[in-house]
């Protein structure tokens, strides 16, 4: 049976070429869209690494650079936040550290093999890990005992540990950063390793990260870079508390601007934006495929009309209606297989040529789902015309056109 169908398709290859090209292109479209979907999903399924429920972020804009004034304000804010019963914990951190921060600080660190590891830097005070809900794999976050540390303590994420050290346990390990001339510039001790910290959001790939300790009392540095407070409120805290918080901070800092947002709100917006980003190409692809599916059905329908004599003859020499039905669907599937095989040959070039730097599993999943999906569509499209074909009576074969 299969061989017979194969022969039929092959002998009609001229009239089937365009159909083949169409299914082939549909495969590529599906493959691309599905791969992007799996690509995003693979990030999405990688843990976020921080808490967003009941966590708020306050961004401050100091209105002077005066150190004493800043110190007083920060001290007052510290006491104020401590006094609120609605607040579970809070942490002063930099505006390139808190979740969904708009800023980034990147630095390169050369490891023992001489490879630069591009690393994102963060800084937060001793309560940051608790407030953000970071998960530790080994070691600990900063605490008072680090005041006396001779070598600067740092916390790294899992990916930094893997790319920089490639060792199973790194807590307590020391390393150096070298300056442009290869001279040691700074020494660090790794005191803890956290899991992920995808602070830009679910759909951003995790990258190597280093956390540095930030003492909120240290206002000698430009406070403008360390102007954020991450706040974990008690569950059920109303949004009215936001206005109170803003008012109180403005009051005790004598006019610093405060902007408070809920991480959950930011995240909703982020997920929505990302959803649109995925939805738009997916819906376009959907309509393209629907278009092709309708076209495929139309073409098959026509070809049934054209082949009434052939089908009638098959009936006359003993093929049952069911068999004709299976034959027409089978033909469409064989044709689809041709196209899909060619499509796969093209699709595998993407990982082979390493056009994009992504895990191979994504492509395999993309190819598999695209194939299954196409077979499904082809079968659906072939069904109605094949029902028509099954209804052709043997006597039609004798009817001259």
């Amino acid at each position: 049976m299969f061989k017979h169908l194969f022969k039929l398709i092959w002998n009609r290859k001229k009239s089937n070429t365009l159909l083949l090209v169409e299914v082939f292109l549909s495969f590529l479209v599906l493959f691309a869209v599905l791969s992007v979907f799996y690509y995003n999903y693979s990030f999405y399924s990688d843990p976020l690494g921080f808490e967003y429920k009941n966590v708020w972020i306050a961004n401050l804009s100091p209105n002077s650079d005066d150190e004493d004034e800043t110190r007083t304000n920060v001290e007052n804010m510290y006491n104020l936040l401590n006094s609120f019963t609605q607040i579970e914990s809070f942490s002063f951190c930099s505006d390139y550290t808190h979740p969904y921060a708009g800023n980034t600080w990147v630095n390169g660190y050369k490891n023992v093999e001489g490879v630069y590891v591009n690393t994102i830097l963060h800084s937060g005070d001793d309560d940051f890990a608790k407030t953000a809900g970071l998960n530790f794999i080994e070691g600990r976050w900063f605490n008072k005992s680090d005041d006396a540390a001779l070598v600067q303590p740092i916390v790294v994420n899992k990916l930094f540990k893997e790319t920089f050290f490639n060792e199973s346990s790194v807590a307590g390990k020391k390393f150096q950063r070298f300056d442009d001339n290869g001279k040691p510039e700074a020494d660090y001790t790794v005191i803890g390793v956290i899991d992920n910290y995808k602070y830009k959001g679910e759909f951003v790939e995790e990258s190597p990260k280093i956390f540095r300790r930030f003492n909120y009392r240290d206002t000698t540095a430009n406070f403008r870079r360390n102007n954020s407070i991450l706040i974990k409120v008690k569950a059920g805290t109303s949004i009215a508390f936001e206005e109170k918080l803003v008012g109180e901070i403005s009051r005790i800092t004598k006019g610093w601007n405060v902007k408070v947002s809920q991480l959950e709100v930011i995240r909703d917006r982020y997920i929505k934006d990302k959803g649109i980003e995925i939805l738009v190409p997916s819906s376009i692809a959907f309509f393209l495929i629907l278009n092709v599916a309708l076209g495929l059905m139309g073409v098959l329908w026509y070809s049934i009309n054209r082949r009434r004599t052939e089908i009638g003859l098959r009936r006359a020499i003993g093929a049952s209606g069911k068999r004709i039905l299976l034959q027409i669907i089978g033909e469409a599937i064989v044709l689809g297989t041709f196209a899909i095989v060619i499509g796969i040959a093209f699709a595998v070039q993407v990982p082979i040529l390493q056009l994009f730097d992504t895990k191979i599993g994504i492509y395999i999943a993309g190819i598999l789902t695209a194939s299954v999906f196409l077979y499904f569509i082809i079968t659906i499209c072939a069904f109605y015309p094949s029902v028509l074909a099954a209804k052709v009576q043997p006597v039609d074969a004798l009817h001259s056109e």
């Binding site: 951003v204 403005s250 393209l288 076209g295």
Partner: protein, 433 residues
């Protein structure tokens, strides 16, 4: 002859409703998507209204400081101090405007939480970008230099904050400062990010620490007298950059300063080819040190868009060709008869192409309606703030051209096959074409 073609086409299309539907569905959908894309592009490249000077403007948007090993550095927008000291003094341009990035503030008018974007800017801003004022006027050099707390707000803000647009003279509080409204302008889509904001106030009203930054928070637009002045302006600015190096924070670490002045087209081209810009925090600093490619930006944009459009149209076209070919085999006998009764090859090709163009034109009308609805939905959904995408006359022309291309693309090959069909075979029927 043409009227006959049209009549014939109408009859053929009406008699085969399912296939007409399939064809129309594909055409309408394809052109609708192209129209929406065109509307977005138009909103970015149009030189209407406040963008009348678009082609003569250079933008300073990124300031990059890198250390000699290129492993570390600052990648940021320029700061006010840098721009004011090293860009503002360039002599060749007609006008230079320095403005801050919009920053969001929450205000609570009448107890409602309202998010407003505030932008610091100067008097020249209004001359480079002639906004349409609904009420009042812009602030001038006097208000700027005397640091008057005056504000130009957009229509959205006027309505959301005051509930009306005749609000000149009313006070408005944004970011802890109360300003007096002196003008109300039309809303500008956030897609036009250099000039879009809710509230515009003189930069001089900002706190001193905002104005004392080398990196971050600001940008500039430079209006050249002539487009041909661009190289001179860039050269002049490059000399200033070397000068600025000693002023950079942490001068021992900053070995090179980069700040490329780009045209709107170049900015758009960069976005177009690197749309994931906002996510590429992992891009190494090496990659971010960008130089103009030397290829004209508009060429890059239009060739890129053209390529994508053709790619997008490929599948629906092949689909249409396929359906047309199938219809043609069904119409073998018709072709034979027409040939027998005196239709020449070219007449038949003409007939078939006209049939297709009519189909695509109907599809064009349907798609124009669909696109108008979709644009309306996008405008009112608030997905993109203040966006106002419209169907312009030029878009209508473009869609007609797209229709023609589509009609000819999908009709030409079947018509060619049809004209080659031998009348004797066509009349015999049942032959495989």
């Amino acid at each position: 002859m043409l009227t006959n073609y049209i009549k014939m086409a109408g009859k053929v299309l009406l008699r085969r409703k399912f296939f007409t539907f399939i064809s129309l569905f594909g055409i309408s959908f394809t052109i609708m998507v192209l129209l929406i894309v065109t509307a977005f592009i138009e909103s970015r490249v149009s030189s209407d209204g406040e963008m009348v000077n678009r082609s003569r403007i250079l933008i300073a948007d990124r300031l990059i400081g890198v250390d000699s090993s290129k492993t570390s550095g600052t990648w940021s927008s320029p700061g006010f101090k840098f721009l004011n000291k090293y860009l503002k003094n360039i002599e060749t341009p007609e006008l230079i405007s320095i403005y801050s990035h919009g920053r969001d503030y929450f205000t609570y008018p009448n107890g409602i939480k309202l998010k407003l974007t505030r932008k610091f800017t100067d008097d020249t801003f209004w001359r480079i970008y002639p906004f349409r004022f609904i009420e009042g006027k812009a602030f001038g050099i006097n208000e700027y230099e005397s640091a008057s707390r005056v504000a130009v707000i957009n229509e959205y803000t006027a309505l959301a904050y005051f509930g009306k647009t005749n609000v000149v003279g009313e006070p408005i509080e944004v970011g802890g400062i109360t300003y007096r409204v002196i003008g109300v302008v039309e809303n500008i889509s956030v897609l036009n990010r250099y000039i879009s904001s809710d509230v515009y106030v003189p930069t001089t009203t900002a706190k001193s620490n905002t104005l004392d930054t080398f990196f971050g928070g600001f940008g500039a637009s430079i209006l050249a007298k002539e487009v041909s002045d661009f190289p001179v302006i860039r050269n002049e600015f490059h000399r200033n950059l070397r000068e600025a190096l000693k002023d950079a924070p942490d001068p021992s670490r900053t070995h090179v300063l980069k700040c490329v002045l780009k045209t709107y087209s170049e900015m758009f081209a960069k976005e177009f080819y690197n749309s994931s810009d906002k996510l590429d925090h992992q891009t190494t600093l090496d990659k971010t040190i960008e130089e103009p490619t030397g290829i004209p930006a508009s060429f890059l944009i239009y060739s890129g868009i053209g390529f994508l459009m053709i790619l997008f149209m490929l599948l629906p076209s092949i689909n249409l060709v396929n359906i047309n070919l199938s219809r043609m085999t069904e119409r073998n006998s018709e072709i034979g008869v027409r040939k027998a009764f005196g239709a020449s090859k070219s007449t038949l090709v003409g007939q078939f192409i006209v049939e297709n163009i009519i189909l695509t034109l109907i599809g064009g009308v349907v798609s124009a309606i669909l696109a108008a609805l979709a644009l309306n939905a996008i405008n009112s959904s608030g997905i993109i703030k203040h966006v106002n995408l419209t169907m312009s006359f030029s878009m209508l022309i473009i869609s007609v051209i797209i229709c023609m291309i589509f009609g000819i693309m999908s009709g030409a090959y079947p018509a060619y096959r049809m004209s080659k069909l031998h009348p004797v075979e066509a009349l015999r029927g049942g032959t495989n074409v």
